[in-house]
Amino acid sequence: MNNRSQNTAPPLLKVDGLAVDYATSAISLRAINDVSFELRAGEAVALVGESGSGKTTTAMAIAGLLSPNARVVGGEVRYRGRPLPIDDDALMRPHRWSETSVIFQGAMNALNPVHRIVNQIAEPCILHGMSRGEALARATELLALVGIPADRCSAYPHQLSGGMRQRVMIAMALACRPSIVIGDEPTTALDVINQAQVLKLLVDLRTRFNLALILITHDLSVVAESCDRVMIMYSGRIVEDGTVAEIFAEPKHPYTRLLIDSIPTPGEGKRMLRPIPGDPPTLVKRPSGCAFHPRCPSAMEICTTEAPHLKQFGKGRVACHLHDSLPAADKVSANA
């Protein structure tokens, strides 16, 4: 399918044509549509997009954590070649945390305020077969690994700083030795210094334990330091997929280019903030054709009527009519 299919090892995770609806009392709204990608063991992929672009829905679907009003209406997710029952709570239970764990955004709320952190980390271990003693030992070891001193192990979440709480979340995610960790904006709630430290910790631990990481973020600058590959999502679809190097050097989708341009660069002075014009589409009011066309600087006639498909393009994939027929490089520069 793409360049990675040449590898002999089967992908750890294969998402194929995934579509999820959110049902309200009257209507049902498509949150993600035709999302397809592969994830190899040990690979770090960033899922980037504005809020409402479907990145969190995609990640939660993979983890089998969709909210009760969400329905998988198409496609499937395969884990190590076998289909995952992502819409069946009971069947997903053994898979959870032992295979796929999640680092949630905002550890203050994601940790239970009335339980000690060491017990919260030990809990999934006990659930997945360890004895209580083993589980507590493992929890203490993990806390040491993320740099929480031994005397703070029996603290409650509120007694720790924001950075420490996020480290606890990371330790918790590693508890059952999963092969995939989903980071849902794991550094967003932190200040800049803590953000850098927590991100570095995450990158180190990923290499050390050969974890596959799916990093959800709206911040492209986080991606460069921590991921191998980037998938850009817009209005429920993947619009571009490529290696970090490719995407930053030569973004193909106009949206990606605008995203990269909007990263504030130190030293650039006055032009620091360049927001993308227009508002992101809502689930209720989605533009016809390519959902990005109302904001796209290179929009054409066809963009308003026909949605572009995600096509192989060089080493990556892109969904844009600009790249329908012509060879890549010319077209991009012609419209730059």
């Binding site: 954590l65 239970r93 898979h95 999640v102 905002g106 994601a110 305020p113 009335v114």
Partner: protein
């Protein structure tokens, strides 16, 4: 921690002081001579010596402030609330103590039943929000919540006592039973059944509403998503993560509620002629027996303060965040 307890104690003392102040002021607003009021008002004849003696004990010949206030407060602290009008010559404190056990039995039993049933039902309804159990439970609870419990009591009498003749609807004991025997205890509980049911039903409605709201809030918390992601079963999520957090607001509301429970019990006791504080209150009201009424008021104030203190203590145990 000590600062927190200090604040709690100050609040408790303030509340009691307000109750005492109100009693002091009210008693002096009533037309007529406080001394003769203390001896039974104008309704009975008393000698001038008696009035004079009373005037001295209570310091009514001294200036209102500060002497009378101080005398009043010290008498109150000693447990001397004066004499009842209606039960002539009897100390208010003795009358109250005599009637207290019956009310404690009624209120205590009803409270325990209501907390167990109400919290369990409400927690379940909030957990399975929007389900059939939720709709039925919430509907019934709202109706119970809006019903005066004494009226429930009257209905219970009509149905279970008058029509079906299953349970007694009047008094606390059958004639001829020896007080203190096992048969007496059974008979007592037998008489207690309907009053307890009346008080408990009203409370259940209230606690279901409260527990359901608390649980609905907890269910939407992020840590519940974490618990689900960890692979916990619904039952494990409920017992291990949701319940204890939901208990925090419930504990506060249930103990703050004690004043309302006693208030409800007063009217229920009147329906069933239950020989407790409620019955005493009605007698005091009918006879305009102010010293007795104020003694009862003080008792209610003290029990409300105690309930609040207990709520704060339990809350401190349940929620690690308050122990800083």
């Amino acid at each position: 921690m000590s600062r927190r307890i200090g604040g709690i104690l100050i609040r408790a003392v303030m509340t009691l002081l307000m109750v005492a102040t109100l009693n002091f002021v009210l008693f002096r607003v009533i037309p007529g001579d406080p001394a003769s009021l203390l001896l039974g008002g104008a309704r009975i004849s008393v000698t001038a010596e008696q009035i004079e003696a009373q005037r001295q004990t209570w310091g009514l010949d001294k200036p209102l402030f500060p002497d009378q206030v101080i005398d009043y407060l010290s008498a109150t602290l000693r447990g001397d609330f004066g004499f009842s009008f209606k039960f002539r010559g009897k100390h208010v404190a003795d009358l109250i103590l005599e009637r207290l056990p019956a009310t404690i039995a009624l209120v205590g039993l009803a409270q325990v039943i209501a907390v167990l049933c109400g919290v369990m039902l409400g927690v379940y309804a909030g957990w399975r929000r929007g389900g059939a159990v939720d709709h039925v439970t919430t509907g019934i609870s709202l109706a119970l919540y809006s019903t005066p419990s004494f009226w429930l009591g009257m209905l219970l009498v009509v149905v279970f006592s008058t029509a079906l003749r299953w349970l007694p609807g009047y008094g606390a004991s059958s004639p001829g039973v020896i007080v203190g025997s096992f048969a007496w205890l059974l008979d007592y509980l037998w008489h207690l059944a309907l009053p307890v049911l009346a008080v408990a039903l009203g409370l259940i409605g209230q606690y279901v509403v409260v527990a359901r709201a608390a649980m609905s809030d907890v269910v939407t918390e992020d840590y519940m998503v974490t618990a689900r992601a960890k692979g916990l079963t619904n039952r494990q999520m409920l017992m291990g993560h949701a319940f204890r957090n939901a208990m925090l607001p419930i504990v506060t509301l249930v103990s703050l509620n004690l004043g309302y429970v006693v208030a409800g019990a007063i009217t229920v006791e009147a329906v069933f002629a239950w020989p407790g504080i409620g019955g005493l209150t009605v007698e005091a009201l009918n006879a305009r027996d102010y010293p007795l009424l104020q003694g009862i008021f003080l008792l209610l104030g003290v029990s409300i303060v105690i309930a609040n203190l207990m709520a704060d203590l339990i809350y401190g145990v349940l929620d690690p965040r308050v122990k800083q």
